[in-house]
Symmetry: C2
Subunit: 113 residues, 2 copies
């Protein structure tokens, strides 16, 4: 289904275990065993998640087979941030409206007290 690059990145991020793996790798590189430890899922399942993350460019894996460790790559997240940038005005506007509303409430409270 996900053939274009951005879709592949979003699909890779659409899983809580894969996001938890990224959060772990943000602290330091880790082997499959180290990554599997906090989760109640099998090593093969972790490996499948790592393959999805690697295909999306979100991690790289060292060549050494026995102690193969994974590292975070943040470039795809920068692509997501770039895609989101034009939409930023929409939630900024919402925050502005919320702030104006709160200020109005406060000024009304000030008058009534």
């Amino acid at each position: 289904m996900a053939t274009d690059r951005l879709s592949e990145i979003f699909a890779a991020l659409a899983d809580p275990t894969r996001r938890a793996i990224l959060a772990r790798l943000a602290e330091s590189d880790a082997t499959v065993n180290e990554l599997a430890e906090p989760f109640s899922i099998s090593l093969p399942a972790i490996s499948r998640h790592l393959k999805v993350l690697e295909k999306a460019g979100l991690i790289t894996r060292s060549r050494s087979a026995q102690w193969r460790s994974s590292s975070l790559r943040a470039e795809p997240l920068a692509e997501v941030a770039a895609w989101m940038d034009p939409y930023r005005q929409f939630w900024d506007e919402n925050l502005d409206r919320l702030e104006a509303h709160l200020k109005q409430l406060q000024s009304q409270e000030g008058k009534s007290s």
Copy 2:
């Protein structure tokens, strides 16, 4: 598969047609017919995409059945941005390294010319 909120948002964004629909709605609200126009896909297919976007909270749809129009809701994107925020340092660091490398190249060029 996607049961948690953030996974549902990412899964909804993992499709180029759905992202194109959001981009169209960022300009103005639109009916299903207006949304279908630029795409070579059927109205029922557009409706299915709208359902996915609505379930993820990325759009709202008006009640009026005949001219039912969709509007963008940016709050889920703000949630994605909040999730990405801790990772920002990683691509900022990469940019810093790239900038330092370019400066070094320029200074070397300066010396050799």
